[in-house]
Amino acid sequence: MIPELGHFALILAVLVALVQGVLPLIGAQRRDATLMALAKPAIRTQFLLIAFAFGCLMYSFATSDFSVANVAEHSNTQLPMRYRIAATWGSHEGSLLLWALMLAGWGAAVSLRSRNLPDVLLSRVIAVMGLVSVGFLSFLLFTSNPFLRLMPAAAEGQDLNPLLQDPGMVIHPPMLYMGYVGFSIAFAFAIAALLGGRLDATWARWSRPWTTAAWSFLTIGIALGSWWSYYVLGWGGWWFWDPVENASFMPWLVGTALLHSLAVTEKRGTFKNWTVLLAIVAFSLSLMGTFLVRSGVLTSVHAFATDPARGVFILIFLAIVIGGSLTLYAIRAGAVGGGAAFAMISRESMLLANNVLLVVACASVVLGTLYPLFLDALNLGKLSVGPPYFEAVFFPLMAPLVFLMGIGPLASWRQVKLPDLATRLKWAFMVAAVTSVLLPFTFGHWSPLVALGLFLGLWVVAATITAIWQRLSRAPQQGLAAKLAANSAAWYGMLLAHMGIAVFVIGVTLVKGYGVEQNVPLDVGQGVTIGVDTFTFRGVAPITGPNYQGLAGVVEVSRNGKVVETLRPEKRAYNSGMTMTDAAIDYGFFGDRYVSLGEPITDKGDSGAWSLRVYVKPFVDWIWGGAFLMAMGGFIAMSDRRYRLAVKQSLAGLAGARAA
């Protein structure tokens, strides 16, 4: 009964979404207040219906209702409750339902938070989101119904993929989808602006906080995914440039460009066409990412081979949504217009450089990800594109970007004098340069790439501190607290996010430069020494989990003859038949000690020697710490008061102008 209710709620939701997508749009065109007024109740109803459906699916998982095919395939009675709940979005169908829920959730949030938006704009925004929702919900209902019954019901479920039975995996997809789907708001605003032909600073101010929110969630989502692959996959890497990762990284790069371009549009009224295009592209890449992951066109053919309907459906959906909006762009972008002029060296030109670098970086990721597909489609052979390509292309693009990041916040709009900028930043430059040349010696060996990476990170830190110092020392207010309060939350958020990039760059540089990876065969009692730490293998012992059996190795870490830490890497055999390794990690501010269990290598079986992976990863946690700071910066920036006040003021301004 419960699954049928969920199914029914989904059918109602698609009907409501259809109303939401069509009638307010007509209303906005005809200036019909009654039709436009449908937008808000429609999106809220749609959200409640999908939330209800989602709850029904979750209930089926929680109660292990194996008469639902989706539950039988992805859950098990031995699965702990928290993973049963998480299994709701662990399957193809469930994750799409989560996608639709997020989309409706963002839409409902817009309807609640935008009380001061003009009706015409709001109804168009909500209607565009409704149309996207129609596409997604029909995809769910026609090709990926999560509520399909299994006749006869299974006695026991097949269990959730063990790789997903992990706390990181429980929150990674919701965060990632919050980000992906959040770009739909910037997209909807862009389409609404193109339809209305009016695009100004107010428009940018409305869409900015939403874009920042989406970007922050996406940042957290990607970082969690990266962290998860680091500790679950057992080989100590944090980014592999595989198509699924790239699928999330592409919208992030364009989303970052969009954030900066929106700033220019808001402050200076420039970059209008470009901002609109970025908003369309960011969401298009989110959709394309979903297509790439869900259709199996790049990674796994089996998901698709069993059901060709899915791939074709998403492709048609993509063609309509993206093709339609780009057509609209081609027709209307000319009407939107350019903007105010700016000098060769100004904050605008630096943000333009930022945009160009980010978009080129994104294009190179798209090319690398799809290149095998292009070649295959043209019958030019099969190949795969790996990390060497991405690293070779990425570094030369990111280095100037990070360098500019130090200068940008100090540059003024319209025009800036280069000598003046140089005077203001010379100390930051010198401190960063000297430190980055000397610091590598404390780690042992010196290499130019490490010095360069450190320089970029330290440069951003030093330049950011300079920016804060100069802003505060010039502030007319008395007392530090008053000086601090004189600056906007958006400004602090921006600086914090830039600091996050610096922390990230330093982490990447040091782990690449000084990480040690050893794959060694160790007999019981034998040890291996890396730096100051000695890792001694003490054998393996059996362990039993709720739905798996396994072996836990014991590895003692000693320093100067004293045991400082005992690591227990595991190898688990799940009852569902899958095995996985679970690395043991001693996390630290200055680096991690990472041990994972390989295979037994003698004929004595488990009790003999084992191959072990012993890694020392200096500053690796700074990578995710940096990403976390970026996201925090985003959240602080979107809390800026002006986003709440601005709308009222501009309306008051309009009313005043009319009165005069």
Binding site: F304, G311, I322, G323
Partner: protein
């Protein structure tokens, strides 16, 4: 001319959609063998039934033949085995077995239990020839033409579909030439 600039994103996207559509019907996991259309690597291996005698691709020159990589430990080999036995009964094309990383006793017992579809089998106990052939999954089947050139490679078990639609038409065509 200025408005053409705004059409560019749409054009790029349409091109992309075209590629994605074609890509949907391709199998990204299918790895073509670099050996196809190259001469079969030369080897001369002991025969399973009579280790004193040897056989290699040179001995098969002048006829179209199949090389089937099998092992007694290979589970998927059991899947394709009935098809191979049928093929042998139809007497269309000689099949040479390559007993891969196996022991002679187990190999012989397996053929005795399941039927022997091979004209004869050769022994590749240490898998050296397997490396030359680029074997990465057992079973694998190669179609070799009269001049000793590999014309097709089937990775994994032969299916009835692959046999009817790819292997047999190719064999007939090669036998005519």
């Amino acid at each position: 001319m200025k408005s053409l600039r705004f059409v560019l994103p749409l054009a790029v996207f349409l091109l992309l959609i075209g590629f994605l559509y074609v890509g949907l019907y391709r199998d990204p996991r299918e790895v073509p063998s670099p050996l196809v259309n190259k001469p079969a690597p030369a080897f001369s291996l002991a025969q399973l039934d009579d280790p004193a005698k040897k056989l290699g691709p040179a001995d098969m020159k002048g006829q179209v033949w199949l090389l089937n990589v099998w092992a007694s430990w290979c589970v998927s080999c059991r899947e394709e085995h009935p098809l191979l036995v049928q093929l042998a009964q139809a007497n269309i094309v000689p099949v040479i077995g390559l007993n891969y990383k196996d022991t002679n006793a187990l190999g012989k017992k397996w053929l005795a239990d399941n039927g022997d579809p091979y004209k004869l089998s050769v022994v590749d106990a240490d898998g050296r020839v397997g490396i030359d052939l680029g074997v990465y999954g057992v079973p694998e089947t190669f179609v070799v033409d009269k001049s000793g050139v590999i014309r097709y490679k089937q990775i994994g078990p032969i299916t009835a579909e692959a046999l009817q639609q790819k292997i047999l038409p190719l064999v007939r065509e090669l036998q005519k030439s």
